[in-house]
Symmetry: C2
DNA sequence: GGAACTAGCCTAACACCATTAGGCAAACCA
DNA sequence: TGGTTTGCCTAATGGTGTTAGGCTAGTTCC
């Protein structure tokens, strides 16, 4: 009887793949075990419990997304950077809906601090260097950008835009134009 | 043995309350049954299954939120209306996190059409009457507004803004200023 | 090469949840 | 009051999460 070679990492990747394939909410310890042809209980030497597995998937996704965003940003500034960031973000969410969903669980503060979350924040701030905003406007702008991206992607995914015929891609592009315009003319206090 | 007096409506309300109290993902058929002091199986004369119960909670929440937004909008126009809408939306999400989470499930098209979702869309469009936008800009603007609200609320709830000290309320107000400003000066194609 | 050890996967067992089938009694209705 | 409906129950099945303890494949050390 040869061994399956389970590790926390392999389980995490398998869970992430499963999430993209069958939906995040259907990812279960049993389903992951099945994928490796082992019994459920065997996973518990590698992960603490189901929640632990979910957290690992979230961290994986956060890190993958940060890498892609970083790559997209390289060598760009201003609106170019804004659009590259936004498109990388949205593309990741579309390619990996399950991982994107996993990212939404709330991590406890120390896990969050050790995650790629701070890298996201840092990169978002980097974009704003092209827009001459100082604190606290910068923080407000970061929050608005992040909200818009996340809100758009998440409404798009859940079919919130289906009822209106207008192309979602076109609307997205205009929203980015609007964001750019507002960052260039951030309303004075 | 007196009867518990179950109905689909009472079960839905109880499930919604539970969602706000213990979190949407912990709402289970068993937990609802427990709350009424009846056996799990007894619920199945009133609801088809767990998914049916979830859909009912989502519809309840959509309808409650639409009512509150409608009340907030009454007699307002322009930026006043925008801010009233946004604040009603955010307040509902904070008061009823479980119901807000329930609203995010995707309804099948005909259920969605019969839900309060279209009322939301209509009210959002009504706000834009104060801003002289014609199609397709109007659709794009509706999508951007909705994304911003949803994105903000959902990031705030999941602790996405915790790392930066700036007050979330203040940032929110500035984001609404920014939205207003952009609606007044929607960038030309 | 064999003995001792480690670690990886297994079986067994339990609790909770979702769901279906069929029974019995309370509530209503004639 | 007797019959019918309907509401909740018991019983049973299957999936999932989790713990405890066992067996053996692979490694280490003489």
């Amino acid at each position: 009887m040869t061994r399956a070679g389970l590790t926390a990492e392999r389980l995490t990747v398998a869970a992430a793949e499963l999430a993209d394939e069958i939906g995040y909410e259907n990812v279960t310890v049993s389903a992951v075990a099945r994928r490796f042809g082992v019994k459920d209980a065997s996973l518990y030497s590698h992960i603490r419990n189901a929640q632990d597995l979910r957290v690992r998937v979230a961290l994986l996704a956060l890190s993958e997304l940060a890498d892609r965003v970083a790559a997209a940003l390289a060598g760009r500034a201003g609106k170019d950077a804004l659009v590259a960031f936004a498109n990388a973000y949205r593309a990741y969410a579309k390619e990996h809906p399950g991982r994107y969903a996993a990212m939404q669980i709330d991590l406890d503060p120390e896990t969050a601090a050790a995650s790629a979350g701070p890298r996201h924040a840092e990169m978002t701030r980097a974009i704003l260097r092209g827009y001459q905003l100082s604190e606290p406007d910068q923080t407000d702008a970061v929050r608005m950008m992040h909200s818009t991206f996340h809100g758009y992607v998440s409404l798009e995914r859940s079919g919130g835009f289906r009822h209106t015929p207008r192309e979602v891609d076109a609307s997205w592009a205009r929203s980015l134009d609007a964001l750019d315009s507002i960052l260039r003319n951030w309303p004075p206090q």
